[in-house]
Structure formats: structure tokens, C-alpha cells
Amino acid sequence: MASTIHAAARPEVVFQVRSVSKTYQSGDILVVALRSVELELSAGEFVVFLGPSGSGKSTLLNILGGLDTPTSGDVRFRDHWLSQADDAGLTRFRREHVGFVFQFYNLIPSLTALENVTLVTEIAEHPMDPQEALRLVGLTERQNHFPSQLSGGEQQRVAIARAIAKNPDILLCDEPTGALDFPTAKLVLDVLAHINEELHTLVAVITHNTAIAAMADRVIRLRSGEIVEITHNERKARTEELVW
């Protein structure tokens, strides 16, 4: 039953990346971060980018998230041409469509958990209720605490709540569990999987933790600025099953 629906409604391709290259100057050296990358991402997908340091995964994520523009090639999100957008255009794109989760949470220390979420819902077009976002990450009880009063895992869950509260089309997570211990990391991943299923948000996670790859629809491996392999998981692992 489930597979027929799946077949009937082929998920919409939201991101199209066409021969994207990125080079930048680092001191006197020209660094090639991405070389002719071709990629499509669909709505509701859970994608994991794997690769060692310097493989270009962060650069790719930055370009997808509208933080950076490619040196050459095209990036299209639905009808937005990100590769040609200016700073204001990129800001609008981020504001309307993207939710970010950072390795070090990057919460605003002077705002409580709830206020950190409210900060984003106030500038979003179709936000959810901030308390609802906190409920989704299981932090209703802690909503009036400041970041310095929360554990690392709690802080990351607030960061996820903040990212999803605007009802983004894409949730981009850069090493979301990099700073967390194993049980806490699993809790956070659980929240991500939950968001992906409940809200059908496209979730892209970059990590060098291969264990996380098991919970993705697709795993994209990068090395030296190139996509070297894309694998489809027949069955997404549940977070309880992950071990590292």
C-alpha cells in the first residue's frame, strides 16, 4: 500500500545542481573546493553527505543553504536561481526556505529557549507556534531556560526547534552531533528523523560519522570536491539501531 502511493507521487525535485565548481583564494593558494558537481535533491528526502575534512561537503552545503555562491555552474531551488542571486536575494531565500542546525548550536545566549525560537518565527512567513516547535523536540518543560542553563543535547534540540519553527522546505545540518556524546547524539538524530517524517522537510546532514548514513534515504560521498558515490538505502535504519 505504502509503495503504491510512493510510486504514484514521485517526489518533486527541489534542488538542481548543475556542474557546480567552487574555487577560492586561501592566502597565496588557489583552493578548488568543488569540481563540476551534479546533484538533485527531492522534497521530503533525508540525505547524508559523508566525506573527510576538505572533501567539499561543507562548501556544497553552504551553496545549497544560500550562504555562498558557486564560482561556476547553476544551482536552482524551485524557481530561485541561487547561483545568480545577490546578497539580499540569498538572505531572502534563507529567511523563507532554509533552516540551519550548527555543530555548536549557536544559540543566542541572551535569549531563553522559547525566545530563541520566537526570534526566527517573527521574521518567517508561515511559522509554526514556537511552543509547538519546542514540543516537537521535547523541550516544553525547559522553554524558559537560558542556553547556559541547558545541556549540550538540549541546546542542540532548541537549535533544531529554532530551525524548523519557520516551517522550512529544507533543514541543513552541519555536523549536528559533532559536539555531543553518543546517547545525546541519538536523541538529536531521533528528532531530525521525526521532523523529516512528520513535516516532510528535506533534511540534509553533513557528517564524517558513517554510522549516521544508515538512517538516510540517500548517502552522498564526497572526496576532493567531487561526488564519488551515491547510495540509496532500501530501508532507513531507526535511530535506536545506530551504533558507533
Binding site: S58, N62, G65, L67, D68, D87, A88, T91, R92, R94, R95, E96, V98, F100, F102, Q103, F104, N106, I108, P109, S110, L111, T112, E115, N116, T118, L119, V120, E122, I123, A124, N144, F146, P147, S148, R162, K166, D174
Partner: protein
């Protein structure tokens, strides 16, 4: 150069914006210190040199007429070094090109004599020839104001006769550095009052004063008692119609100059102190941040074996370097301003030479003071760096802790998260917010005080010349006339209204205290002199008894209801006990007033007058002036508008430069503080702001978040600046209160508006500079880097 030194220079270059702001604030303080302190010393020295070289006398006395033999008796008083008897007479002048009549003070000199008391410094031309009775030397201020040069002629009425005088020289005299007629007028009116030195033979002949004098000046031997000599002189001169001898402290030019010079000394302390306090605060804030940011560097340096002492010295050198840069800049700017100011002062004070040569020790002081301020600012952060254990320093600084406080008691939803962030940041570091607010407060205060002093002057002029003195012209007769003369004056062309007055020189005594002044008799209910006090209220002249200025009452310690001894210093020299009927808190001079008829009765004379106050029709003014110039009975004419304008001129010239400079200084304080505050906030919250950019906040939104803090501090500091400014104005009005004038305490709303405008412009410029930094914020790096 050690590696630590290299680090120091690179760090300095890295934080050049902030360092430059601090350097500027320090430079302002040092520049004002060097300029004012050196100017104060230069003025004192120039004054002393001038007095010594040109033999400024120690004691002065005026008499009606005394035979020359009397001068010899004075010469014999123990302690007297030298005497110079002379003839001094105020006469009406008709100056070419000047519509109004002017007053010339003729002073006799012996043409051949050089190097005596009150020696002249000849600027142009020559001394007069012995034989030529019509040759005069004019004072420079008067000649300049009227465009007179040697060879020009002016007409004078001397003893009722017209005489044409030829200017042969232009000179300066130590007696008339500040050239005003007497204690009745407050400001030099160089166009309408000037000193003319004339050959003694010519003047004594014209005034029938051969073998006599009416003025004498005396110099004292070192360590002689001025008071004792004055007492003896008074005894000798009393029967010759003396108004009483007086020392330098009552000599009007000397007094004005000395007051002015003393004022420089006060500002030379207060203004630099404000700047250096702000500079110390800026150093403190910047260095606290620097040490926090360099925690790990400090740890590494210590881990490698550098001692605490070396680490401390490193940061101390850092602050001293900034301090010395500011000091150097300040010294150069101060020197330059000093030279500019010296030119203005030399012109204003009429010193033959005003050398602005700052002494080395002023610069040494500047270095010392700056060093102390820089150290005072740096000491706490440096101690923190020194005390930091290497292991702890390796760890990043603990994240800022926020707790629910005041603003959380406000209902949520009232204020946006953005405003909450700003308020919580302020709340978390109240001392820093207070320090910033203090600096803003200072700059607002400076502007309010500067404009407030102008307001006070303006108000003083308004009260005095619009409300208190409603006449257009004061005509003083050369001797006491009968009331009939008033009717003649009233019939002159253009005269709309006239009121007579009687003026009598007196000495007022109460217990052992006494004061010389003039007693002015006016009509009761005078419309031209409604006796306006400092608050603008009018006071009626009492029917009997005397009304005196509040300052005079204070000086004599006398209160209404008590009796004063009034000693008339002319004619029959009557002495009377008179009841003090009232006091009036007036603005100019230390005066005594009586009802005209009561005064006449006291003087036992019948309706005598000394002159009249006139209100005139502007259209017929020129005609009236022409006529007045030619009336032999008229000794002096003073024209109110001309006086007011000349005063405004003086103020504009002497205050323009220093006030303009203070304004710029106020801007620099505000900018230095706001810019540094915003830069520190940017450095501390850069990661937070970059995160917000990633989350979709626009550049303007995060700029607003960052600058909001400074905006709130600035706005909150404004009212305190107003209050502080008003308070300083009150202190200054109180301190500047002299017997010569009192200023009303008033600050117009426009002055507050100026303060707001100037500080807001400074804030906007700083904001703009910082917002350029925000544009350069690297938003990608925050995804990875942990602070």
C-alpha cells in the same frame, strides 16, 4: 625587537580603529591642556614682562586739582619709588567717518620723557614735538577700530573750545590693555572710546591747569605696603578732591585682564580632566575585551615560560603606546592651537608682544598625565591577564550567563526578542553601560555648558540692555547743571523722551568695611531705568533712603533697615547716615541708587542734574549726533546699540575659536565612545550576529541589533547630560559672579537641542563606521568555528 614587541605592533594594527578613537580622545585632552596651560603661563609672563618693561604703576589716584608741590609730598611717603602727576580729561570727539560722537581720554605726557611710569609702546609714527600742542598719540585699539593712521585729524571739544588734533603716532599703554572708560561700562567700545596722549604743556594750558595735576600714579619700592601708602596718599589728597587712591586690584584694565587670565587656569584643569577620564574608560573597556580575546595566547606565552611580569609588561606597553601616540598628537595640535590663539589674544589684550612659547615642563606634565590615564585604564585588565593560570586560559572563556531579571518581569510580547537581547546585554554588564553613558553624558554636558554660557550672556544682554536700560542714549554733562538743561536736552531734534539723572561719586561704609562707587539719582518710577533684577523683575526706587546692589550689600555686610555712612567724594564732601531701604539683585556693577529729589536734598542742591537718559527717534539720530558733538556742555555720550554691538563683536572674536574647538572635542568624545562600544560589542557578539545572518536576518536587522545597545545608552545618557550641563552652568554663573557683572542662570531649549543634535550626529557617524564592519562579517565561518 623581541617577538612580543612584534606581537604588540601587529595587535595594534589589528585594532587600529579602536586605538585611533582612543588616541583622538587623549589628543583632545592633551591639546586642551597644552594650549590652555601654556596660554595661561604665556599670558601671565607677557603681562608681567609688559608691566615691568613699561612701568605699570602700583597705585592710582584722581583729584579735582592739586598743585605740583603735592606730588613731591607724595614722593616722600616711605615706600614710594616714583610718582608721575598728570592731567587726564575725557572730552567729546568728532571722529571722521563716525556718525556718533566719541569720547577721548586725553592724558598728558612730557614729549621728551621716556622710560617713566606708564611708558608708551609706540607701534607706528612718532612721539609729538614739544612745541606742537595739537599733536596726539592715539591708542591702537581706538585707531584700529576707526581706521585712523598717523596724519589723520580728529576734532575735540576741550574745555568748551573746538580743537583740531593731529595723530602722529599709534601706541599701547599698560594702563589701557583693556580699554574701557570706567566701571560704568562693561565692555571695550573701541570705536567710541579711546585714549589720546597729548603734550602736557598743551593740555594744562587748554584746561587752565598750569602747575597742577588731577591724576597721579605711583610705583612702590619692593616690599612696601600698598595699604599704608594708599592711606597716606588719601590723607594728603583729600583736600584736593580725591576720589580715593587705589591699587592695581581696583585698576579696571588690570582687573579684567587678571580675571580673564585666571579663567584660563580653571578651564586648563577641568577640560583636560574630562577627556582623560573618558580616555581611561575607553582604554579600560578595550583592554578588557583584548585580554578576553587573547586568553589562549596569554596561556601559550605563559606555558612557554614567559613570566607574569613579562605578560603584564606587554599589555602595559600596549596601553602606554596608545597613550603616548595620543599625547604626541595632542602636543602638536595643542602647540598649533596655542599659536593661533596667541594671535587672537595678543589682538584682544593688546600686549605689545604675546609670545606663545610652551615650556618644556608643560609637555612633561602632558606625558605624565597621559601615562597615568592610560595606566589607570589598563591596570585592571592587565592584572587579570597576569593572574590567569595557563591551564585555565587554554579553555575558552565561559559562555556569558544570563539570568531572568528586571526585564523578564515585563509582560512577554511587549518587547521583541531583539530588544530583549539588547536589554539583557546591557543588564549583564551594567558597569560598562554606565561607563559609556558617562562619556556620552560628558559630551552632552560640554555642548550644553558651551551654549548655556552663551544663553546666559544673551539673557544678560537682554535684561540689561532691553529691559533695564531702556534709553537709547546717555548724555553726561561736564558739570552739574540746573534742571533747565534737561528741558534743553529734551528739545533736541529726535528726542522722544528724556529723564534726568544725578550721579555722585561716593564712599559707602558700614562698620569697618567701605566701598567706592557712584550714587545714581533717578526719577521715582523711572520708565527708562525700571531697576530690573537678575530674574527680570522690576523694583521701585524707594522714596527715601538708598537702594544698593545685592553684591554691594554682601560686600559691606549690610541689610535693608540698617544705616550706611555715605561720604560724597566731590564738592563739599558731605557725610551722611542713610538708611538702606532696599537691595536689588542687578546684573552689572556694584551700584547705589536714590530718588533724584532725595539725592538733591542730601546734596543740599536745588534740582541739579548730571545728565539725561534719552529715547530718540531713529530717523533723526544722525542729526542729533551731529549736534551733540558740538555742545560744549556735553562731556560724554554713550549710545546703547553701539555698546551692545561692540560687546557682541568682542564675544564672537574671543570665544569663537575656543568654543568651536570644544564642540569638535565633544563630538570626538561621543564618537570615540560610541564607536569603541559598538566595536567591542561586535567583537563579542560577532558569532551571534553571524548566526542571525545565516538564519535569514538582513544586514540592516543585525546592524540595528548591534547598534541598539549604543542607541539606548546614548538616549538614556542625554537627560543626565542636560542635568550635568545645567549644574555646571549654575556653578560657572556662581563662580564668574564678580562685582563687575553677574550672569543670570538660563539655558534655552535650543541649547539642549544642539547638544542632542551634535551627539546624535556623532552617534550616526560612529554607527555608519561600524556598520561597514558588519558588512564584512564572515557568516560561513560561524558554522564551524567555536569562539
Amino acid at each position: 625587537m623581541t617577538t612580543l614587541h612584534r606581537k604588540l605592533f601587529r595587535d595594534l594594527i589589528h585594532m587600529r580603529g579602536q586605538a585611533f578613537a582612543i588616541v583622538l580622545v587623549i589628543a583632545c585632552g592633551v591639546a586642551s591642556f597644552v594650549t590652555m596651560r601654556a596660554m595661561y603661563r604665556s599670558l601671565l609672563r607677557s603681562q608681567a614682562d609688559y608691566y615691568a618693561q613699561y612701568r605699570f604703576p602700583d597705585i592710582f589716584a584722581a583729584v579735582k586739582r592739586a598743585p605740583e608741590g603735592v606730588a613731591k609730598r607724595i614722593r616722600e611717603i616711605p615706600g614710594v619709588a616714583e610718582v608721575k602727576p598728570r592731567v587726564v580729561m575725557d572730552v567729546m570727539l568728532d571722529v571722521p567717518g563716525l556718525a556718533e560722537p566719541a569720547v577721548g581720554r586725553l592724558i598728558s605726557i612730557r614729549p621728551g620723557e621716556r622710560g617713566g611710569l606708564n611708558d608708551l609702546f609706540l607701534r607706528r609714527g612718532r612721539f609729538m614735538h614739544q612745541a606742537a600742542g595739537s599733536e596726539v598719540i592715539a591708542s591702537e585699539a581706538f585707531a584700529k577700530a576707526n581706521g585712523l593712521v598717523p596724519g589723520n585729524q580728529i576734532d575735540a571739544v576741550i574745555n568748551g573750545r573746538w580743537q583740531r588734533l593731529t595723530i602722529v603716532g599709534i601706541a599701547l599703554s599698560p594702563e589701557y590693555i583693556y580699554e574701557i572708560r570706567g566701571s560704568g561700562s562693561l565692555f571695550p567700545d573701541n570705536k567710541r572710546f579711546g585714549v589720546l596722549w597729548i603734550s602736557a604743556d598743551a593740555l594744562t594750558a587748554a584746561l587752565n591747569m598750569k602747575g597742577a595735576f588731577n591724576s597721579i600714579v605711583v610705583s612702590l619700592q619692593p616690599h612696601a605696603s600698598e595699604a599704608a601708602v594708599i592711606a597716606q596718599m588719601d590723607r594728603i589728597l583729600e583736600r584736593y578732591g580725591s576720589l580715593g587712591a587705589y591699587g592695581r586690584s581696583d585698576q579696571i584694565s588690570h582687573r579684567f585682564i587678571s580675571d580673564e587670565i585666571a579663567q584660563n587656569r580653571i578651564s586648563a584643569t577641568v577640560i583636560p580632566a574630562i577627556f582623560l577620564a573618558v580616555a581611561a574608560l575607553l582604554v579600560h573597556l578595550s583592554f578588557s575585551r583584548l585580554v578576553n580575546m587573547q586568553r589562549s595566547e596569554i596561556a601559550v606565552i605563559k606555558a612557554f615560560g614567559y613570566s607574569n611580569w613579562q605578560v603584564g609588561a606587554h599589555y602595559v606597553q600596549f596601553s602606554v603606546l596608545i597613550g603616548m601616540a595620543g599625547c604626541l598628537l595632542g602636543c602638536v595640535v595643542g602647540w598649533y592651537f596655542g599659536i593661533r590663539l596667541a594671535a587672537i589674544y595678543a589682538e584682544f589684550y593688546r600686549f605689545p608682544i604675546l609670545v606663545y612659547r610652551p615650556e618644556l615642563r608643560i609637555f612633561l606634565w602632558a606625558v605624565l598625565i597621559t601615562g597615568s590615564a592610560a595606566l589607570a585604564g589598563a591596570i585592571a585588565p592587565v592584572m587579570r591577564a597576569v593572574a590567569l593560570p595557563p591551564a585555565e586560559a587554554m579553555r575558552p572563556e565561559a559562555p556569558p550567563r544570563f539570568r531572568s531579571r528586571i526585564i523578564d518581569r515585563l509582560r512577554p510580547g511587549w518587547i521583541s526578542p531583539g530588544l530583549r537581547m539588547t536589554l539583557r546585554n546591557l543588564e549583564r554588564q551594567p558597569w560598562r553601560a554606565l561607563a559609556s553613558a558617562f562619556a556620552i553624558c560628558c559630551s552632552v554636558m560640554i555642548v550644553v555648558v558651551v551654549f548655556g554660557m552663551f544663553d546666559a550672556l544673551d539673557r544678560m544682554m537682554e535684561i540689561q540692555f532691553r529691559d533695564a536700560q531702556r534709553e537709547d542714549i546717555v548724555v553726561t554733562l561736564n558739570e552739574v547743571h540746573s534742571a533747565r538743561t534737561r528741558l534743553e536736552l529734551a528739545r533736541l531734534p529726535g528726542v522722544i523722551r528724556s529723564e534726568p539723572f544725578r550721579i555722585v561719586p561716593v564712599r559707602l561704609s558700614y562698620e569697618h568695611r567701605s566701598k567706592k562707587t557712584t550714587l545714581l539719582g533717578l526719577l521715582r518710577g523711572s520708565e527708562m531705568r525700571p531697576m530690573i533684577d537678575r530674574n527680570g523683575k522690576s523694583n521701585a526706587i524707594p522714596r527715601s533712603g538708598i537702594m544698593i546692589s545685592a553684591t554691594l550689600a554682601d560686600a559691606l555686610h549690610v541689610r535693608p533697615g540698617e544705616k550706611l555712612r555715605v561720604e560724597v567724594l566731590e564738592g563739599s564732601r558731605t557725610v551722611r547716615e542713610v538708611l538702606v531701604a532696599a537691595t536689588v539683585d542687578d546684573l552689572l556693577g556694584a551700584n547705589a541708587y536714590m530718588d533724584l529729589h532725595a539725592l538733591n536734598r542730601m546734596m543740599q542742591e536745588d534740582h541739579s542734574i548730571s545728565g539725561a537718559l534719552l529715547q530718540v527717534d531713529a530717523a533723526k539720530q544722525q542729526e542729533l549726533y551731529q549736534l551733540l558733538k558740538r555742545l560744549p556742555a556735553v562731556a560724554a555720550v554713550s549710545i546703547k546699540d553701539a555698546e551692545v554691538n561692540s560687546f557682541k563683536d568682542t564675544i564672537d572674536r574671543s570665544m569663537g575659536l575656543s568654543l568651536g574647538t570644544l564642540m569638535i572635542f565633544a563630538c570626538i568624545i561621543a564618537m570615540g565612545m560610541i564607536y569603541n562600544g559598538a566595536r567591542i560589542a561586535l567583537s563579542e557578539r560577532g558569532r551571534e550576529l553571524a548566526t542571525l545572518r545565516v538564519l535569514g536576518f538582513t544586514r540592516n536587522e543585525i546592524t540595528a541589533l548591534l547598534l541598539g545597545e549604543q542607541a539606548i545608552i546614548t538616549i538614556a545618557a542625554l537627560p543626565f547630560g542636560f542635568i550635568a550641563g545645567y549644574a555646571i552652568c549654575a556653578v560657572m554663573v556662581e563662580r564668574m559672579q564678580t562685582e563687575l557683572y553677574r550672569m543670570p542662570l538660563v539655558v534655552y531649549p535650543s541649547s539642549y537641542a544642539w547638544a542632542v543634535l551634535i551627539v546624535l550626529i556623532a552617534a550616526a557617524v560612529s554607527g555608519l563606521l561600524v556598520s561597514r564592519r558588519i558588512a564584512k562579517l564572515d557568516i560561513v565561518s560561524v558554522l564551524k568555528a567555536r569562539e
